[in-house]
């Protein structure tokens, strides 16, 4: 009995008292503090979504999607910017996909583990945090001016590919590291070469993770504005793109364009475009999540 009293508490009912009661009170309170912190983010997002839907839902129509931009807000649409976004994403992915996979394979499988590799890895992580406008400045100097591509789709795609590379490389590295060493050993023990092992076992095993990383990076590229404005994509496009060397605009640039107009009607257009862009990004993220879940279960 004496021992029980020394640590507090009621031996008959085992109900908390003293220090235990205090610790449990703090524990219960922590739950509400954490919930409140979470709600701040959710509430802001909910309000933004509601506000955007409220302002832009009425503008969403097939005409809005298929019309060129216009001086008249009620006739203006997203045709050229949607096409521009599609045109720029294809070469961006076509560039970023093989480069990031190759880089990740080299780093994880073949690179000698030395100081240089550590520096490369560190810089990759840093590059992922560089503001996109810096990539825009690089793109302007290198692709638009030096390579004389002008403010073209190709220059934009090069810029976006550079911008998402650090993300996709890191995601691919993670995915490659997830492949169990026992699979590598099993393959090597059969007399497969290192490359055969990577190609037949490591890459297929890592592919879901790599795909997820690329899709998430694409959903970032699809919303990219600053870097593309920097290379000169802030233009009035009233034609369908037909070549990689065309001038172009993209949906987020069109949104930016509309928001800075004084007329209220253009703001509604911007809100409508935001809804469509959000839907596109959400769809991409959903696809990424589905890929991830499906392969995790296997």
């Amino acid at each position: 009995m004496a021992a029980t009293e020394a640590i507090g508490g009621d031996l008959d009912t085992l109900s908390a008292s003293g220090a235990v009661a205090r610790r449990q009170a703090v524990s219960r309170a922590s739950r509400y503090v954490l919930l409140a912190a979470t709600l701040i983010g959710v509430a802001v997002l909910a309000f933004l979504t509601y506000d955007t839907l409220d302002a832009g839902a009425s503008r969403i129509s097939w005409d809005f999607v298929t019309s060129y931009p216009s001086r008249f807000a009620d006739r203006a649409g997203l045709r050229s910017s949607i096409l521009g976004s599609a045109w720029i994403l294809v070469p961006t992915v076509a560039l970023a996909f093989p480069i990031s996979i190759s880089t990740a394979i080299w780093i994880e499988e073949f690179a000698p583990k030395n100081a240089l590799l550590t520096i490369v890895k560190l810089n990759l992580a840093n590059l992922a945090g560089v503001p996109s406008i810096i990539y825009g400045i690089l793109g302007l100097a290198l692709f638009v001016r030096f390579m004389e591509l002008g403010p073209s789709i190709l220059a934009g795609a090069f810029t976006l590919a550079l911008m998402i590379l650090p993300m996709t490389v890191i995601a691919s590295q993670e995915a490659i590291r997830q492949v169990p060493p026992s699979i590598r050993e099993g393959s090597l023990a059969l007399g497969a070469s290192h490359w055969q092992t990577v190609w037949n076992h490591v890459l297929p095993g890592a592919m879901p993770g790599i795909m997820t990383g690329i899709i998430l990076a694409v959903s970032r590229a699809i919303g990219e504005t600053a870097a593309l404005i920097m290379i000169g994509a802030f233009t009035f496009i009233a034609f369908d793109n037909t070549s990689l060397f065309d001038d172009f605009t993209t949906v987020p640039i069109q949104i930016y364009n509309w928001t800075i107009r004084p007329q209220e009607a253009f703001r509604q257009n911007a809100a409508g475009a935001i809804i469509l862009l959000m839907a596109a990004v959400l769809t991409l993220n959903l696809i990424a999540a589905i890929i991830r879940e499906r392969f995790r279960r296997e």
Binding site: K113, P180, S182, I183, R184, E185, G186, S187, L188, A189, L190, G191, A192, S193, Q196, N200, H201, P204, G205, E298
Partner: protein, 300 residues
Amino acid sequence: MDGTEMRESKVTSPRLVDVRMPEVRTGESLTPETQPGARPIIEPPEPAVFTLRNLNLWYGHKQAISDVTMNFPAQRVAALIGPSGCGKSTLLRCLNRMNDLIPGVRVSGQANYHGVDVYAPKVDPVEVRRRIGMVFQKPNPFPKSIYENVAFGARVNGYRGGMAEHVERSLRQAALWDEVKDDLKKSGLALSGGQQQRLCIARALAVQPDVILMDEPCSALDPIATLKIEDLIRELAQQFTIIIVTHNMQQAARVSDYTAFMLLAHEGGPGELIEYGHTNDVFTLPKDKRTEDYITGRFG
């Protein structure tokens, strides 16, 4: 041992002469080496596939195995037993150069395979591994179909001929065919643990190796699956040289012709070969007190 020439596994060494892999299994006939004061180690009288001479291995600065000299005879089962951490798995992985995958591994001495030191500078580990198959502690089938699991090794090694027949032959050899013949497209991971391990054996057999190394192949299996693998090992020994690491002394007694007992002879020191001989002799008349203590369960 101090006088032994040390070398990195990939650094050129002037010591080796002919490093070509012999086309046919020649076998090196052996006479026991007479070393004054040598440990009670039997050199099996049969032609040897492996002859290890003063083999040492270091992980960085830590020596893991010391001065191992022994032969592995052809078409026999040799078991490596000993307490955890005594270097028996390390020794096994020396033989097909799987230790190369671990950074900082250094080997000295000789691991002669049909007379060619597998650590000689010109030896390609891929050439070694396609002749010396390996089965791991935990079944590790590829996350692909049963068929693909078996066909992969044969395909990368340039097997010419009917692949379907070859897959069937390998699965039959591994006593798995009857259980899987109707769903070869099923994932290898869908099989039970024991079936997975036999699939891994079939996969190794499909490469048509000469030696099969088994690293505690039954430690993750139940007693019935274990029994099947043990029967299979006896069966395979008619054709292949098998070296098996096991924690299970009854298993060593059941399946092996020769047994080697390894031990960390000194606290914190490297693993050493304490005794090697006919399984019967090692288990009934151990020459070394430490072997006897281990076998009778007095330590380890």
